[in-house]
């Protein structure tokens, strides 16, 4: 059955659905407090673990949900857009993004929510993103070879390690629960920061 676009629904719905999903996304993010940069970086300093909780819960919920739907034939999981595993570019990009995260206190998605509620640091962060993209694009010829290197293709983790995707999800769920528990213990010990 799914993904509904492009086979069941026409392509024109794509943008409408984008807006609707975006509204829901922004609403949930903002209501969970992700428009606050101090809340977001809390996970790296140990005083607020909302990011870990929301992130992991969302990933686990969505994975289990999609796997069930795939089993019932409602969606074809292999037809979904994954991220091609260009190992070294992703690692390098991730490290740079990590540094950006702790300096700026936002990630692009949460920065948009911050803009939505009027936080000027969010506006500036978005301006910074534009700047970063522009600098990269101009410097692209230097990185072009590296950018396309070490591409393992659109492979999933269970495929790569040759295990069943369902047991992998069991493993991730267990890791998530353990992480939540550990984080709860840590939060009790670290002095909380008022923000």
């Amino acid at each position: 059955m799914g993904p509904l676009i492009p086979e069941i629904l026409s392509d024109q719905w794509n943008n409408i659905i984008a807006i609707l999903m975006g509204i829901a996304f922004g609403f949930v993010l903002e209501s969970s407090g992700f428009s606050s940069s101090r809340k977001l970086v809390g996970v790296f300093y140990g005083y607020d673990f909302a990011v870990l909780r929301v992130f992991f819960t969302a990933a686990v919920t969505a994975s289990i949900g999609l796997l069930f739907m795939d089993y019932f034939g409602w969606i074809d999981m292999s037809a979904l857009d994954g991220l091609p595993a260009r190992v070294w570019p992703i690692v390098v990009g991730g490290l740079i993004m990590g540094m950006g995260f702790v300096t700026g206190g936002f990630c692009p998605g949460t920065c948009i929510t911050a803009i939505g509620i009027g936080k000027l640091d969010g506006y500036v962060f978005f301006g910074g993103i534009i700047l970063g993209v522009f600098v990269f694009s101009e410097m692209f010829p230097l990185f072009e070879n590296f950018y396309n290197s070490s591409n393992l293709g659109d492979v999933t983790v269970p495929e790569f390690f040759n295990i069943s995707p369902y047991w992998f999800t069991v493993g991730i769920s267990i890791i998530a629960i353990v992480a939540f528990y550990a984080v709860m213990l840590i939060q009790k010990r670290i002095k909380s920061v008022e923000y």
Partner: protein, 240 residues
């Protein structure tokens, strides 16, 4: 720690364990992943350009007479692969042929057949179209030493069931080929129309229908419904 959280924490773990034990995952991502990994594992690949060049060249085709020599000589370096479904394979096939229905040609166990390059593989089916398609697919995947039986079983049996009698004026080779073909027919256990069946060739055609072979020539009344049957049911290969 609140009881509610403990309960909620168990939910995803239980759900994913349930997922792992669900039966019949043939349609799911796991099954598709296995097929996908097969494709990428074996993909030493022939590029489309090279494949085009190869396909224009006819030397992948093996003629019925050549194949007959291989069968009679019991040449061990040849592997005959019957691409039809198991029902047709069970009714009649070439001596020593193995059965790989063409839809399953890319599964791991069937691919293992092609692993050693020691064999010359001859792909055949009722006609030439299916084996040629399979040739394309396997060639694309980089499998070597493939041949396609020209004319398929239809032409093969035409030739050996009822070899065309040479005319008086034909050269000696024609007669030699004729006797060779009759010998092949006898070797394969095909009834010789002249000796065993009073009405000769015509009835043999009808018998061929009864054994599940699809004659290329005008089908008798019995065969008419089968011509209409869609491809999957009868393996009806329109013999090129």
């Amino acid at each position: 720690m609140k009881k509610r959280y403990i309960f909620l924490a168990i939910v995803p773990i239980v759900l994913s364990i349930v997922l792992a034990f669900l039966p019949d995952k043939s349609n799911s991502i796991d099954a598709k992943r296995n097929q996908k990994s097969l494709k990428s594992a074996k993909y030493t690949g022939v590029t489309p350009n090279n494949l085009l060049l190869e396909s224009v060249n006819d030397n992948r085709f093996i003629q019925p007479d050549e194949l007959a020599k291989v069968i009679i000589g019991q040449d061990p370096s040849y592997l005959l692969v019957d691409l039809r479904d198991s029902v047709q394979y069970g009714k009649f096939t070439l001596p020593g042929a193995i059965n790989i229905p063409y839809e399953t040609i890319l599964t791991e166990e069937n691919q293992a057949v092609f692993d050693s390059e020691a064999y010359n593989v001859v792909l055949f089916s009722n006609g030439t179209i299916v084996p040629d398609q399979v040739w394309m697919i396997l060639r694309r995947a980089g499998i070597k030493n493939l041949k396609v039986l020209n004319g398929g079983l239809n032409q093969f049996y035409q030739l050996y069931l009822n070899p065309p009698k040479p005319l008086e004026a034909d050269p000696k080779e024609a007669f030699e080929i004729y006797s060779f073909r009759k010998a092949v027919g006898a070797h394969l256990g095909l009834p010789n129309p002249d000796e065993f069946i009073p009405k000769g060739g015509e009835n043999v055609q009808n018998n061929a229908i009864a054994t599940g072979l699809k004659p290329v020539v005008k089908p008798a009344a019995k065969a008419a419904p089968k011509v209409v049957v869609p491809k999957k049911a009868e393996g009806g290969d329109e013999g090129c």
